[in-house]
Structure formats: structure tokens, C-alpha cells
């Protein structure tokens, strides 16, 4: 990292390091036998890594270019012999190293936290690492956040709106992709009559008629799903429902899903960074 990059970004880098340090101190000191601390542990486990990625998007990415426009310093730093595109490439390139190191740190601390949560729970520990903690996936999530922030700053040319756009878009992306789209990244397998194997990712369930057609979740079907055993029989009979199915992703598919999601985030990172680069080049030529 050059002196200039450090000088421009030191407050955000120091802040990120400090937050991660607090995370690292809190994790081993949680008393997981207490109900409140275990709630806190679960909260940290679920929200810690996405929060880090969001902070990177909003505070590292968005102001990077926007601030240069806002303070008119772009006139100073982008000149004929130091092209703007090169400036961007150098800034991004030099911030990548700390970004990767910090992401790995977050990953490791979260793994320690996960191990502690598993050890304290009554359920038998499994050797499956949580989906999000696969390092390549987590890294591309952070890089996509960074790219998104830079592009937003490029478009808005003003820090605060760029930060707002980045926050809303990245949160929507993570919630949408992580909570809702993830089970459908591959067409789920249908289990009829039997349950999916242990460790599967559940997707949904429903009912089939005699011909094997899926029945729409009309009110009658919904009620069948929810009525008492005798009621279900009668209800199903009167609606020609014969079988119940469960859609799920079996455990051996999880890795493929992770790979696909990794690809999506990698593509977002590549596209946003390339778009920022192209927009800047066009703007400087025009």
C-alpha cells in the first residue's frame, strides 16, 4: 500500500481493524451457558460477517471516487500523465490486500464463534461448516460489496447519496440472495413419501394429485396441510390430493450451491469494477 492510499483511507482502515478487534475480544469472552449471551452469540454469528461486508461497501467503496468529485480533488489527482483509470486501478488494487486479510480475520473469528455455539448446544455437532463461511464465497461477497460501493460513488459523484444507495442495494442483494434465492439456485429435488436426507437444505413442500400434478396452494390445500389427521384424510380425499412432497437440496448439493453463489458474487464484483472503470474512462475522454 502506498503512502497516498494509506493517507486517504487510514481512518476507514483503522476503524475496520478496530471493529474486528472488538469482535475478536468479545467472541472468547461470551458465556454461552447464559441465555442472553447465547442470544448475542447467535446474533453476532448471523450478522457479523454481513455487517463487515456492508461496512466495506458503504465506507470503503462508496466514498472512494465520490469524495474526489465532491471535493474537486479529482482535478488535482487525475491529470494527463496520471490517468484517472490508472488512479482507480491503483487505489482498488492497493486496498485489495487489506480487504482480503481483514475478511480472513472475520472468517476465522466467526468460525471460532461457530465452534463455541455448537459445543454449547445440546444438538450433536456436525462437521458441516456453515454455508456462508466457505472462504471463497465470503471473500467474493466482500469484493462484490466493494465494487458496488465504487460504482455507486462513480454514478452519484457525491458521498452521502452514494453511501445510501450502496447500503440499500447491498442489503437487498444479501437478503434477497441469501435468504430467498439461495434454495433455488439449482432446481430442488423432490422427495415424495420419504423425507430428505439429514443435513439437507429445506426448500418447500406441497401436495400432488392422482396424476402427479402439483396442486396450487389454494385455501383448501392450505387448510388440508393444517388440519388434524382425520381431517386431512377427508380433506385430501375430497380434493383428490394423494401425496405430499418435500422439495430440498440434499447435502451433496450444498457445495454446488456455494459454487454458484460464489460465481454470482464474483460476477457482481467483476461487473461493477469493470463498469466503474469504463464509466471513468468514458468520462475522462469525453
Amino acid at each position: 500500500m502506498s503512502w497516498l492510499t494509506w493517507r486517504l483511507q487510514r481512518s476507514t482502515i483503522i476503524a475496520a481493524v478496530a471493529l474486528i478487534a472488538v469482535f475478536a475480544v468479545v467472541v472468547p469472552n461470551l458465556d454461552l451457558s447464559s441465555h442472553l449471551d447465547s442470544r448475542a452469540a447467535n446474533g453476532l454469528f448471523v450478522l457479523g460477517p454481513p455487517a463487515f461486508a456492508t461496512v466495506v461497501a458503504v465506507f470503503w467503496g462508496a466514498p472512494l471516487v465520490a469524495r474526489e468529485y465532491e471535493h474537486n480533488t479529482y482535478k488535482l489527482v487525475w491529470s494527463r500523465d496520471r490517468s484517472a483509470t490508472r488512479w482507480l486501478a491503483v487505489r482498488v488494487g492497493q486496498l485489495l490486500a487489506p480487504l482480503v486479510v481483514l475478511t480472513i480475520a472475520v472468517n476465522l473469528i466467526t468460525r471460532v464463534l461457530y465452534d463455541r455455539i455448537v459445543a454449547a448446544s445440546q444438538y450433536p455437532p456436525s462437521d458441516v461448516t456453515p454455508y456462508d463461511l466457505w472462504p471463497p464465497l465470503q471473500l467474493t461477497m466482500v469484493l462484490a460489496a466493494f465494487g458496488l460501493g465504487i460504482l455507486a460513488g462513480m454514478v452519484a459523484r457525491s458521498s452521502v447519496p452514494a453511501m445510501g444507495i450502496t447500503l440499500v442495494v447491498y442489503a437487498a442483494l444479501r437478503i434477497g440472495l441469501g435468504m430467498f434465492a439461495r434454495p433455488y439456485l439449482l432446481p430442488p429435488l423432490r422427495y415424495i413419501g420419504e423425507g430428505p436426507p439429514d443435513g439437507s437444505m429445506p426448500v418447500g413442500f406441497g401436495y400432488l394429485d392422482g396424476a402427479g400434478h402439483e396442486l396450487s396452494k389454494s385455501d383448501a390445500v392450505t387448510q388440508c396441510a393444517a388440519t388434524s389427521p382425520t381431517g386431512v384424510q377427508k380433506c385430501m380425499g375430497s380434493n383428490q390430493i394423494v401425496r405430499q412432497y418435500v422439495d430440498a437440496q440434499p447435502p451433496d448439493r450444498i457445495q454446488d450451491l456455494q459454487l454458484i453463489e460464489f460465481g454470482i458474487y464474483a460476477a457482481i464484483a467483476a461487473v461493477t469494477l469493470a463498469a466503474a472503470w469504463l464509466v471513468l474512462r468514458r468520462r475522462m475522454v469525453a
Binding site: A15, S33, L36, F59, G164, I175, A226, T227, S228
Partner: protein
Amino acid sequence: MLWITWRQHRTALIGTLVVTAGVSALLLWMWQAVAELNDACSQHDCITGVPGALGDQLRWVYASLYFGQPILAGLVAMFWGAPLLAREFEQRTYLLAWAQDVTPMRWLGSKVALLGAAVLLLSGVLAAASWQLVGAMKESGNYFGMDDFKALEQWPPTQVLYALFAFVLGLAVGLLVRRTVLAIGTTLIVFATVRLVVAFTVLWWVPPLRVAASPQGGGLPPGAYYLSGYGMPYLRSAVLVYQPVERVATFRWLEVITYAVLTLVLAGVAWAGVWRVTRVG
């Protein structure tokens, strides 16, 4: 001042309005879904319970309930509160705005009153919507495990004050830091810390009760919130630490009063800060 406030903050206002409208619509939709299933289950005696019958929609219920309010308050803190003074200082426009006939104190007072009213309105709508959903979930019986303790933070007055606190916190940080991006970051950190500390400690602010649980019987009274427990092997029983259901109102008001006091103190800080900068000698 109405026009000026609108003109300066319209992007943040519209953006937050869109997000709030989206989350509120989602909350009301989920409330509708849960309420309908409550109805159906009361007639047919559900086995899987309402959550089971919700199927895929269950994720939306929790997402809207637990993310909606913090996102609104966070947006208000970071994009309404923090830039309000920080940006005026950073771009030196306070030299323009505060040198007019409208005194700086009236300028600040009008802006805070107008934006504060908007915060009140938006967070009120969101709080009302999420309280509807909480109500429907409580009606579903034990399946959701929703009760007044679990929904402590969802109580509408708490939600509204919590959003107002977020706004005033941003304002005060902006005054002290005077640089927009730094103010936004500081606000986010302080806000998240206060919010988490209050949420995780509030149930300890009143000394909890203890009860022995043994195979012979005894245990938590109905509706109580279990905090922690420790075993007493020689007595072949365990001691459970809990808060009784009668204290729900106490904790609600504790949280409301905490946020109200913090809001007033921070508003006072912002007020005194601007007054110090511009008082005429």
C-alpha cells in the same frame, strides 16, 4: 423552512419513505397471512401449526419483523441525522445559512421539528404494522413462541422513540465530528452499540427472580422469560433465573424512558453546540 428542509433532504426522505413503505407492506401482508391461518386453524385444529402451514413465507415473517425497524432507524441516523450539521460544516454552507434573518436556533429548531415529525410518522407506521404481525403471531399460540418478552422491542412506543433517538444521535455526532462520512460511520457504530447493549442487558436492569426446578415439580411460571440457570447437583435440582410476566410493562417503560432520556440529552447537546457557535457577543 418547510421548503428548505424538503429541498435539502428530499433524497434521503424519499429513499427512506420507499424502504419504509416496502417493509410496512411486507409486514401487513405477513400479518394478513398469519391472521388467515389463525382463522383456518381455529376451525380445523392445525397439526403443524400456523408456522408450518406458512411454509416458505415463514422466512419473510422473520425478515420483515427483525430487520425492518433497525433498517429504518439506521437510515434515519446515518442519512437524516448525521449529515444535517456535518455537511453544513464540511461544505462551509453554515456561513451562508446562519448569516440570514432566520436565526441559527430557529433554523435548527425548524429542521429538527419537521424531520422529527417525519421520523415519528414513518416509524409509527412501521411500528403499527409490525405490532399487528406480533399480535397475530401471539394469537397462534405456542408455535411461534411469540410473547410480550420476545416482542419487547416491537412495542410501538419503543420503536418510535428508538427511531427518534437514532435521528438525534446522528445530529449530535454531526455537530461534534463535522465531517460527513466520518459522522455517518461514527453514528452507525455508536447507534449499533447502544442498541445492542440495551437489548441484551435490559432484562437484567431489574434484579431477576429465582426458582428451583426439580423432578418433583416446580419451574418457570407461565409467560416468564428464562434468563439463565445453574445446576445444584446435591439437591438434584436446578435454579432458574427469570423475569416474571408481570414485569413486561416495567421493561417496556424502562426502554422507552432510556431512549427518551438519551434523545433529550443529545438534542440538548446539539442545541448547545449550535448556540455556542453562533451566539452574538
